[in-house]
Symmetry: C2
Amino acid sequence: MSVVVVGSVAYDGVETPHGKVERMLGGAATYISLAASYFSKTKLVGIVGDDFDQADEQLLSSRGIEMEGLERVPGKTFFWAGVYSPDMNDRTTLVTDLNVFAGFNPKLPASYRDSPYLILGNIQPALQRSVRAQMNGVRLAGGDTMNYWIRDYRDELLETIREWDFLLINDAEARMLSDEYNLKRAAAKILEMGPRTLVIKRGEYGAILFHGASHFMVPGYLLEEVFDPTGAGDCFAGGFIGYLAEKGFDLKNGHIDARELSRAVIYGSVMGSFCCEKFGVERFRSLNRAEIDERFCEFRAFTEF
Amino acid sequence: MSVVVVGSVAYDGVETPHGKVERMLGGAATYISLAASYFSKTKLVGIVGDDFDQADEQLLSSRGIEMEGLERVPGKTFFWAGVYSPDMNDRTTLVTDLNVFAGFNPKLPASYRDSPYLILGNIQPALQRSVRAQMNGVRLAGGDTMNYWIRDYRDELLETIREWDFLLINDAEARMLSDEYNLKRAAAKILEMGPRTLVIKRGEYGAILFHGASHFMVPGYLLEEVFDPTGAGDCFAGGFIGYLAEKGFDLKNGHIDARELSRAVIYGSVMGSFCCEKFGVERFRSLNRAEIDERFCEFRAFTEF
C-alpha cells in the first residue's frame, strides 16, 4: 500500500572526517522516500527551485517514487551545509538557505489523497497539520519534528501531534518535549499527548519503541566505518513507515500486531545503517532489497539469546 | 562451580541528584561478589583496615560469600568519594584515599586455588597476573582494568591480559586500549591481544560482546529512576561470571556455547540494572533470584522481534 512522504527536498554541503561534499541531493523527504521505496509505493510532496538537477530527479524516479507532488518554482532549492565533529556524534550547521522552501505550502495531488499511510518530515507543525487534513481516511499518520518547533511553536505542535498515530523523534527532542530527562517517563508523558506509538531514535545507540504500556529496544548497528550520518534518522523513518505500509499494518481497526511495529523499528534501523555507509544518498544507488533483508536477519542474529 | 573474586573492598562517599551518602560499603570486589553470589559459590579476595564494619562483613556473609581471602590489617579501609553529574553520565572523584589498599598483595588461600573461575577487578595488572598464577587449572579467567593502567602501565597490562579468557571494559577504555574510535575495529584489535571474549560496557546504552568473528548486543535496561550508578559495571561483571560458573561454562575444552555467553551478558545487565535502583549495595539486601530471572525474561520480551 502507498505512503505519502512530505518534507524538504534540498541540497546539502557536508563535511565529515572522511571527506567533504560541496553539494549533493538531500532533504528529509528525499531520504524518507528513498528508504520507504524499498517496501511500498512512495509518493513524494516537496518543493524545489529551477536549479534542481534532472539527474537527482531521475534517481528518485528510478526508485519508483511518484513525483507529481514535487512542486517546481522559480528560485533556488533549499540549501543546508554542516560539519560533523570527529566522532560524528555532533554537527554544526554552517548554512541554512531556505530559498524556495520558505514558501512551501504543501498541496496534495488528488492521486495522493487516498493513500493509507502518511509520514511528515520535520516542517512547521501547521503545515504538517494541513497535510493531514487533506488526506481521506488515512490509516496511519505520523512524523518527525525538531527542537525549534518544540521550543517556539509548542502549542501548534501539540495540536498537530494530537492527531498523529506515531511520533518519531530523537532522545534530546523527547526530553525537551516532555520536560523529563528519564526516557521512560518522557515517553509516558508524550504518549499522553496523542500518538499511540512513539519511537525515540538514539543515533549509534539504536532506538526505543513505546507502544501502550510496553516498549521494544534495539541497539544500533555496528558499522566499521560511518562515512556520513546525514539523513540516517530520515531513512529510519522511511524504513519504519515503508515496512508498515508493505504489511498493510492498521493501528485503528484492531489489526494491531506489536511484533510488526518492532520489526518496523528494525527495518528503520537497517535503512539508517545503510545510509551512513556512503555520503548522502549514494548508498541508495546500488542498495537492493536482498541486502536489506539480509541485514534484518543480522539484527536478529546479534540480539537473540 | 565456584568463582574467585579479587579487587577492592572500600568505603564510598557518593552524591547523586537523588541524595548523598557520606560513607557506605563499596569497592569492585564487593559489588562483583554480591552479584555473582546469586549464581555461584563466591570467594572474595581483598584487604580492609581495622575500621571495617562487622555489619558490612555480615552482609557479604549473608549472601554466602566466602571471606577467608579478606585480609584485615591495621589502618583504614580504602576510601573513595565522588559526585555525579545531573544526568549521571559523568562523575567527578573528590577523594581517593588508598589507605591499606596501597599495600594490597593478594594471596589466595589454599581453599581458593582450585576454583575453576576467576574474575579480577580493576587493580594493578602485575597483581592481577600474580593472582592468575596462583590458580591451579582455572577454567575461565578474566577481568577489568581502567584508563590509568592502559596509559601508564601498558606493557604490564598487555602481558597480563594475554593470559585472560575474557576482558570486561567500558567503551572509553576499549578505545584507549586499541587506539581505535570505532568499536568494531577496536574489538578486533583487542581480541588479538589475547582474550577470546571481549565485553564492552556502555552504561545506560547496554553492552556488546565480541567473541571470535561474531558479536552480540544488548541495550541497557530502561529504569524509571537511577538512584546511584556506582558499582553497576562491577555488578555486570559479577552477573556475567556468576552465570557462566553456574552453567559450568568452559571456553577451553570445546564446550563453547556462544548463546550462553550472550545470556551471561544479559545476566550481567540485569545485575547492573538492579544495582542502580538504590544507593550503594542497598538493593542487594532484599534482591532475590526470582526477581533476577524475571528481569532476564523482561530483557527477552523487549528485545525479541
